[in-house]
Each structure stands twice: as C-alpha cells, then as structure tokens.
Assembly symmetry: C2
Homo-oligomer: 441 residues x 2
Amino acid sequence: MRVRNWITDVWRRVSLRNGFEEYDAPIFEYLDLFTIKSGQEIAEQLFSFTDRGGRQLAIRPEITPSLARMVNEKINALPRPIKWFSIPRLCRAENPQRGRLREFFQWNVDVIGSDDVQADAECIFAAVDFLREVGLTPNDVQVRIGSRALTVSVLNAAGVRQVDMDAALAVLDKRPRVSEDEFARLAKAAGLAEDQLAAVTRFQACASVEDIRKLLGDAQDVGGAIESLAGLWRYLQALGAADYCTLDMRIVRGLAYYTGIVYEILDTGETLRAIAGGGRYDNLLQVLGGPNVGATGFGMGDVVLGILLEEKGRIPETVRKRSLEVFIIDVNEGGFEGVLRLAAKLRSLGLCAGYSYKRQSMGRQLKEAGRSGADCVLFVAKMENTFAVEIKNMRIGAQASAGSLEQFVNKTLAEIGAETEVRFPQAGRIVDALFRKLLPE
Amino acid sequence: MRVRNWITDVWRRVSLRNGFEEYDAPIFEYLDLFTIKSGQEIAEQLFSFTDRGGRQLAIRPEITPSLARMVNEKINALPRPIKWFSIPRLCRAENPQRGRLREFFQWNVDVIGSDDVQADAECIFAAVDFLREVGLTPNDVQVRIGSRALTVSVLNAAGVRQVDMDAALAVLDKRPRVSEDEFARLAKAAGLAEDQLAAVTRFQACASVEDIRKLLGDAQDVGGAIESLAGLWRYLQALGAADYCTLDMRIVRGLAYYTGIVYEILDTGETLRAIAGGGRYDNLLQVLGGPNVGATGFGMGDVVLGILLEEKGRIPETVRKRSLEVFIIDVNEGGFEGVLRLAAKLRSLGLCAGYSYKRQSMGRQLKEAGRSGADCVLFVAKMENTFAVEIKNMRIGAQASAGSLEQFVNKTLAEIGAETEVRFPQAGRIVDALFRKLLPE
C-alpha cells in the first residue's frame, strides 16, 4: 500500500505540474460503451453483469471510453485543449500472471481538442517527467514511438483491404512478443500475403524520420503523418525528453481506436510487458456520438511499473518505513492524561504521534516506541500541579528536559514555528527543529 | 474532483498523524462475505454478479468485512493493536437521493486487537481531528455516542428474547428518523410490548453516565458497559475532543455486527443523514473464521459530508481554483523552443507550468494565461544566440527582465533555492521568491 501510494502520489504531482486536471468516472458503465470501439481484446476481459433494472453493465477495464463519453457531454463548455488525467482502478477478467493482475491502477493522461502533435509531445513529456522523478533512466526504459497512420498507409499501399486492416494490425501488434515463426503463422492466418509482409517489414526497419522519408516518399505521407513524427521529435528535443525516446515502427498498439502516433514504454532489457502505452485516437469521440475532435493520451499501469522499480531498486527506503514521528510514554501513575493531551496537540500540528494503550513499564513502552520507528520519544510524568516532559532523540540516544507540558505546548512549539509553519509534508522538520532547540549536538 | 481530492487528502493526512496505516481490498469479494453478518440492509443493496468461473461475487458496499477477512489471514503476524485506515470506493444499489449515491467514498478508521475503550476514544478523536481540520465546529456537528451493549442489556431485562433482538435493534435504529406514530407501529410489528418500549424509552432519555448508573444500577452493567462509557468520556476529555461529543442512548446503529459503544456524527441542525457512524464490533472477526479479538472503528462517507461543508461554506477557495502557477508565452518567431525548454525545467522543479499550443499573438496568449489562473507569466523572445526572459506578476501587473534563459535557469532559480528546496506542496513559494528577487514591491 505504501509503494502504491508513492507511485500514485508521484503520478498526481507530475500530472498537476504539467497542467493536467484530474477527473474520475464510475467504476462501472453500460457494457456497450466498452464493446463499441475498443475491440475484441477488451471485450473478452470484461467483468460484466446485469443489475435489477435489467441493465447490462461492466466494471471498467479501461477509462478512455468513459473519458470520451464525459467530454462529449460537455464538449462545448470546456475550453480546449482539454488536458485531463485520472488514476482509475480497473478490472480485467484475465489469468493473473507476472505483470498482469485482475485488478490494478492505471495513470491516464489525455489531451482532447487539439490535432497538433504538440499534444502528443506534452503527453510523452509528462510520462518522461514521471520516469525521471522515480529515478528510472534512459538506460532503464525507452518510449518506443511508432505511427498507426503510417503503418495503415503502408498496408494500404501493399493492397491490404480495409476490412482486413484490424486483423493485420492486431498481428503486427503481437510481432515483438512472439517468435518469427509464430508471427509468420499468425500473419498468414490474418490473410497477409508474403509481398505485403515484406513491405511492412521494410517499413518497420526504419529507425529515423529520414529512413521513413527515403522509403515512403511524400506520396505515401497520408495526412502529413511523416511531418507529425518529425514535429514530435523536434518538440521532444526542446523539452529535453528525446534521450528517453526511440522511433520504432514495429509499435502499432492493440486497441482498435488508435489513429496516429502510437507509443509504448518498454524496459530496455525487454524482459517485461509494456509499462505504458498510448497514442492518438482522433475518431473515438465521434464514434461515441460526439464531435470530430482530435484526442491523444496514454495509460501506465502500476503492476509492471512496480516490478521494474523493485528490480532496479528505485523504491526509496522512506516509502517502506512506517511513518510515526513521536511516541509518547507515561512514566508514573497519572501521567497518561498528559500523554493524551500531548498526543492531541502534536497531531493537530500535523505530527504523526502515537502512544501505548497499555499502562505498562517505561521499558515496555520504550520497546513499543522502537517498533513504531518513531524518531522522537516524549516522557510524561505527573507532578503536583502539572506534567513534566522529557525528550529523547531515538537516532542518537540523547535526552533532555523539555520543561512542563504547558511550557512545551505554549512556548517551545511556538518558538520553533510549529504553530504557523508546519503541515503534514514538512512534519519531519518539527522533530529536527525540536532537536536543534532542545538537544544541540 | 478537486473537492473530493481535498476531502480524501485530509482524511489520509489525519489518519497518518493519528498513527493509522492505510490498507485497501479488492473492489469485489465473494458475495457470502457481505451476507454472512452485515444483515439485511446491506444484502438488499448489493451489486452482485456471477463470473465466468461461476463464482458469486459482489462489488463491495462496505469495507469492514474485507478488513476482517484480511486481518484474520495475518492475525498472528500483525503487532497489536492493529490501527488501519482506508478510503474505499463503495457501491450500493439504492435509489440515489440527497446524501445517498450509488457510488461514493468512505473513510474507514479501525483498531483491531484491543478491548480497551482507549481504542474507541482514539477512533473518535481521529474523526474530531478531521472535523476541526476542515473547519467544522462543535456548533456544526456532534458525535452522538450510544451503547449497543447497554441497549441490548435493557431489552434483555425487559424480556425481549434473543431471537427478536436484531429486529428490535433495527426498529430502535430508525426511531430518530421517523415520527413517534410510525415508530410505535414499527415497534409493534417487531414484537415489542408496551412495557418493553417504556423501559427502553426511559433508558434512551439518559443524558449522562450518572443518569444511566441511577436508572440501571450496577446489576445491569453487563460486561462493564457503563464503565466503558465513563472511561471513554474521560479519554475524550483528556484528548480535548469532548466538546464535539454528546452521550445519546438513542444511537444503536443499523448494521447487525455492532456489540459495544456505537456512535453517529450528525449535523446539529439535524437536516442531514449521519455524516459518519461506527462502534465496537467484537464478534465480526470470529464470525468470519478468525480468533476472538476486539475491534472498533467508524466509516465516514463523502456525500453527506460534502453537502454539509458546502452549506457551511467551509470549502476553501484555493481548493476550487485551477492550480497553474506559471504560464509561458513566446513573443517572436523562434521563441517557442525557449518556451518548451523553460516549461520542462520549471515542471521538473515542481511548478505547475503551462503554455499555449497555438503560435498566436502575445495578446491572445496573455488571455489564455488569464483563463489558466496563473500567478506568473514568463515571456520568451528568441535573440541571436539565446532567449530573453521577462517576468510578470499577474496579481499586481508589475513586469521586469529576468535576463537570458540560461541566466534564469542556471543562476536565478538556484539563488532562490528552487533546485534544492522546492517540491510540489511548497511550489507556490517559488513564485513568491521570484517576485521578491526580480520584482521587489
């Protein structure tokens, strides 16, 4: 849970600083929404059910259809480009295996209402911004960028009919993950002739925009797809993200709704499934009853990402540590009232403070403090008219008096700025400030 | 979404500082888990379905059964008391109405493995700590505390048989929300005789521990339930939470699994449903196949709470505001590369930075900046060998040169400590520091 929260917190933080706003959608939708346009792969993986009203529903296996449905409803009220993100819980009825679970979380980042390749560049930059933040380097992962538009154009020119296109793309999507023999068998089954296969293989060998220009020429640049790739590359360079990116024309993506630039984020060791996948899906809103507006975005799941972060040792120790900052101990009969008063005060200032439910010896309470991982222990003793407080730095063992409870609460905490300055994310600072104030080394 | 995130962020923050650790459970469970012990009210509100393997499943309508199931599995490995919280998405198939939606979020705070009433006090304190943090006062809301144990004891003494107990409690739970006539009708239907009703009504009129002691005496204090109430009250006073709490023996809670102290948080105007409800459920883990350990906790939904916060005007303006901090504008041909370089740099420092996808006039870009709500605008001009940067404070309109892009990025940002100090929650400070540095008023 701590690791999942760390990942989702960074997802949210990176999204916001890239100017995306968060949305959410219901956990289930009408079944139709998912089967209309996402293709067979998704339809086979649905947890679907019928409610008491006889409605056919399904737990969401992805959130893009919900996004399109919701944006369609408000399309005229929303200033464009619409830059939205979400971190939905998704369910897919597939066999659990390494990198795939039946239930998972997925970061979704989308720009709707812009045909400009800048939108694609900004989505990819957000992904790279995240990868950098969690310490994954260009040596660990690469965004492999292809073009569904150019792939379709090449297949078209090679004589693949429109009705066979989805099957051909589905086979090409599987190509990097199966043997060449298996791929040849699948391609044949999908009706791809040998010369068609050769044409697409030549295209997939292109490693740069120049290669593609040389192979296809301007005649085959349908809708400016080569120019889009070239522009995307320029923007990624200006954004300082190009070191994380590689052109790879084998990338076509499995979902049926993609139309333009497509990409997957893969570990460079290629031992794992894709960490993320995305691209342009210009027709989805229209198919779902909306206007003809451009859209692009990606999804990044938490499962494969979590495996990679674990393997590379990039999960910070502080994430795994239990986050108690102060443990409060009563040292004599009647001290417990002071423990409760101090705990309430420190918590209201944003400090994670704990104490033992058991009125037991100081030694046992200290052991509980140790197990809690607290940096700081406060000892409370009942005196005649007040409580006396002592402070102990559990990291170095030093201990000193902190005066009376009233002094500590009304004077010391105020002097270190705890009353005004400290809120949760900076809470650790109070402890350090307390040590500086009361336990100078 | 912004309001929901604000509420869930405060829930999480308050839970952590009170020493609770977060957990989550699957969005669906075996149907049985919910029907075994939660009672009829929950069973009627389930979204249930059968998966391909023929398993009877249900989307979770509450998370406590999942908590009990999970803790049971690891009970011997977990140091007690087990202090856990969760913020699950829940679904109930009921008619949407004011304060009730089919899908909602609920803060769950539980202590398992302690029979001590301190655990109940700590849960209630966490709720009060939250109410204070969001600005709800004791005049707005009260935790109304009853005792399922004492209510059962009174019903027992009045001759209500064990088999009729659940029905009697269900009727008493409805009492505060229906007319006295309607209640009399329901009580009769549940088999409560007039003298039994009179006995329980006398008990429900008690407003303090002393009243209860006087009415029931020690003989009827089954399992020390009066002592528990008295202890709870002392702890709540030491924690400074008693001003948010009222004893109210009419509170019995609807769910079948409660056993001891129970409570609801209600708006003092009593125009809304309960904001939260909870109590002790000592038998649930055992019923679900685990050991006999004490457990207590509460759930607080986001729907009624959201209505109350809205009505009382307690949702901060900053929560509703779109959170863009810097908007970057190109002022001449070629300046856009500098815009992208600056955006990437500022975002990596944690600032929410945006720019226009359209290469359009400065005036139009400024308008977009205004719509974005950015506090700060940076203007970027392409010069011969570099980019020149100007800064504008959108709050007061002042504007000044910020030197070259290299100077700004390598020198100015470092001088204000942006490189080392600033991360997301403090990001707003960079803007202010920039103004102090470059635009002294």
